[in-house]
């Protein structure tokens, strides 16, 4: 049973992600988890506001099914297969506690200081989550893909644009964690 409850190591997860990509290729699709956001916009009528959302979104319903599956997978894994705690490098956990008063590493899956429902009363937390989401959505469409579309699919297909995008992901992430976190938190 421990094998199920323990976190899966990278050398199990990475190959399984590659398998997901190959299965999608075999059914004629490309692995990517952000284009469904565009499909969702189109489905609720954003085509009235921009040409970008005027396309045959019904042909893209398959990626909404993948999303539904991902939701289901999250439910199954968290309910039946996990103790929902994440242990990280102890020095990093200590630093999170010392610098940002985030003390839930090792005790929760997401930092309760930011994500616990009762902490949503803090407007700063709402702003962090909302702005984070907006940047992810905007950036993914501007760059034409996200972690799955560029870092996995695109790089696997040896696409230079994907390499540029992934370098961008890391520039953005490093700037946020190392330069902006000390200001925000």
């Amino acid at each position: 049973m421990d094998l199920i409850y323990e976190p899966w190591p990278w050398y199990v997860a990475g190959p399984l992600i590659a398998l997901v990509m190959f299965v999608l290729l075999l059914v004629g699709k490309q692995f990517g988890m952000s284009s469904n956001l565009r499909t969702a916009c189109a489905a609720v009528g954003a085509g009235k506001a921009s040409e970008f959302f005027k396309f045959d979104w019904k042909a893209e319903r398959w990626n909404l099914m993948v999303v539904l599956g991902a939701i289901l997978g999250g439910f199954i894994a968290s309910t039946y297969l996990s103790e929902n705690t994440v242990n990280i490098n102890s020095e990093i956990a200590q630093q999170l506690s010392d610098d940002y008063n985030i003390k839930s590493a090792g005790q929760a899956y997401l930092p309760t200081e930011i994500f616990a429902a009762e902490n949503l009363a803090n407007p700063l937390n709402i702003a962090i989550l909302l702005i984070g989401g907006i940047l992810v959505g905007f950036g993914a469409r501007y760059a034409g893909g996200c972690t799955s579309g560029h870092a996995i699919s695109g790089l696997s297909n040896l696409q230079l644009p994907s390499l540029i995008a992934v370098i961008g992901f890391f520039i953005g992430g490093l700037v946020m964690i190392h330069l902006l976190y000390p200001i925000i938190f």
Binding site: A13, C41, P111, L129, I152
Partner: protein, 137 residues
């Protein structure tokens, strides 16, 4: 029937994301602090197998099951859109601690707060659609 296939693929993907902790804010933070090999190992091993597999597909000219063409079109050439878009994405990835796949996984795991991130991501996508013609691509 085809929809069931995609539902199953998505479910499998969701379980992998959650169980590998790639959907955890802590792992994303740790990755950008270079505190563990874990996330690099996940992406790196997926990539090594991905590169090999796609080379095999191309050289053996393997077709999808329905006989159509593999979705492996080259991406449009540009630097600005990938670099600027990528940086904006990276800022959000590190701020919210989640990228698009894991957002849905976390919603399924019952984290109500992630719905704010998903709402933001839809808004961000919509904003891009509104102003895309005025951005360098």
């Amino acid at each position: 029937m085809r929809y069931i296939t995609y539902l199953v693929i998505g479910t499998f993907f969701g379980i992998i994301m959650f169980k590998s902790e790639a959907a955890s804010w802590f792992r994303i933070y740790e990755m950008f602090q270079f505190g563990s090999f874990h996330m690099y190992g996940i992406i790196g091993s997926a990539l090594v197998l991905g590169v090999i597999g796609i080379q095999v597909i191309k050289r053996k000219n393997i077709k999808p099951l329905n006989g159509s063409e593999m979705s492996l079109q080259p991406k449009n050439k540009s630097v600005a859109r990938y670099l600027i878009g990528g940086i904006i994405f990276g800022l959000g990835w590190a701020l919210a601690g989640a990228c698009p796949g894991p957002m849905y996984v976390l919603a399924g795991a019952g984290y109500i707060s992630i719905l704010i991130v998903i709402f933001g991501a839809v808004v961000g996508t919509f904003l891009y659609g509104l102003i895309k013609d005025r951005l360098p691509h």
